[in-house]
């Protein structure tokens, strides 16, 4: 009898492990195309995924940051402004958790894009980062041309932002944290105001760190 109980427990423990392990891949978001190439005289079909295009912004230290700085990195992108009275403090509070978890990981970055570049100059962003308690090069606060920031938000990260004088603070924007993998593909979007979803993001970054099988995009 006792053996039977232990046996059942053992099976239960095994299946519990299994179900944990089975969730090791994250979806790939965006449009995809089938690309047929001729390789060594044979036609080979490959899937080409949507990726984050080239960009160039400036961070809180005044350094120029481009897509190249993110080559081979996992990163989280969001959109905010320093004088935002609505959802930003909650987003910052949650992003601090992500920062706290990965600030010593060389392969993880956080990119917070200001949607109010007129006010959020480099010194303003630096002061904001300092007051938030953020140092080093894990979390960048970025200033860029307004049209560039808005365009990359909507077309690439699929986050809606717009200027609206009737909204509190003058802008409306969505509080998503967008997870981008080492090949610049969007792998997740999490409500940055929801602590539970942000915990999931923290777990999913770990999943991406472990993901080594995928091939680099040409």
């Amino acid at each position: 009898m006792r053996n039977l109980v232990f046996g059942l427990l053992f099976i239960a423990a095994l299946s519990a492990c299994k179900s944990n392990e089975s969730k090791t891949t994250l979806p790939i978001f965006g449009t995809r195309q089938a690309l047929t190439k001729i390789v060594d005289g044979k036609s080979v079909t490959d899937t080409v995924y949507q990726t984050i295009p080239k960009f160039k912004f400036v961070n809180q230290y005044g350094d120029s940051i481009s897509n190249k700085n993110l080559d081979g990195k996992i990163y989280v992108a969001d959109f905010f402004f320093t004088t935002c009275p609505s959802i930003c403090p909650q987003m910052a509070r949650n992003m601090l958790k992500v920062y706290g978890t990965y600030k010593n990981s060389a392969d993880v970055r956080i990119l917070s894009h200001s949607i109010d570049p007129k006010h959020d100059s480099v010194p303003v962003l630096k002061k904001y980062a300092d007051k938030l308690g953020v140092s080093g090069n894990t979390w960048w606060f970025l200033q860029g041309k307004k049209e560039d920031v808005y365009s990359i938000a909507e077309k690439s990260y699929l986050v809606a932002v717009k200027q609206d004088s009737s909204a509190a603070g003058g802008y409306v924007h969505q509080g998503y944290f967008v997870l981008v993998d080492q090949q610049k593909r969007v792998r997740g979007a999490y409500d940055g105001t929801d602590a539970k979803q942000v915990d999931q993001l923290i777990a999913d970054i770990k999943t991406l760190q472990a993901e080594v099988s995928s091939k680099p995009i040409q």
Binding site: Q90, A92, L96, D130, K131, L132, G133, A168
Partner: protein, 141 residues
């Protein structure tokens, strides 16, 4: 004669006790109402910035658990909530200097949310009622 005096004494005492008891329960009932309504106001209007635990955000947004500050500035809290706050303040020994936006709340809601704040996050400062808030709002700078 003797009995009636004792009777009078007893009845006065019991009426007084009744009054005290009913007063107390009225106050605590009023407090409970203010506090629970105030919790809702807090969640919808304050929590995003100050956090669900009133802990604030790093050096940007102050915590709401500095009882000494709240006591000292009791009469200007209503104005700060209604019209916003500017300038340097020290909370728990740390300096803050950001703008707090105004919250368009009715005097009753302000009284409720102050009562909630003043009795949450480790504070125990009792009720602030609507009359006090209305009086304080007349003296905003």
């Amino acid at each position: 004669m003797k009995y009636s005096r004792i009777f009078a004494a007893i009845s006065t005492l019991s009426i007084a006790t009744l009054l005290i008891v009913s007063c107390e329960s009225n106050t605590s009932l009023e407090f409970k109402r203010y506090y629970s309504e105030g919790a809702e106001v807090y969640q919808t209007r304050c929590q995003n910035c100050h956090g669900n635990d009133g802990a604030g955000l790093s050096a940007l947004i102050p915590a709401l658990n500095d009882s000494t500050f709240l006591k000292k500035n009791k009469s200007s809290l209503a104005c700060a909530i209604r019209y916003g706050m500017k300038g340097a303040i020290t909370i728990n020994g740390k300096a803050y200097n950001e703008n707090m936006p105004a919250a368009e709340l009715a005097p009753m809601e302000i009284a409720q949310v102050i009562t909630y704040m003043n009795n949450s996050f480790g504070n125990q400062l009792g009720i602030v009622n609507m009359d006090e808030v209305e009086a304080d709002l007349k003296n905003c700078k």
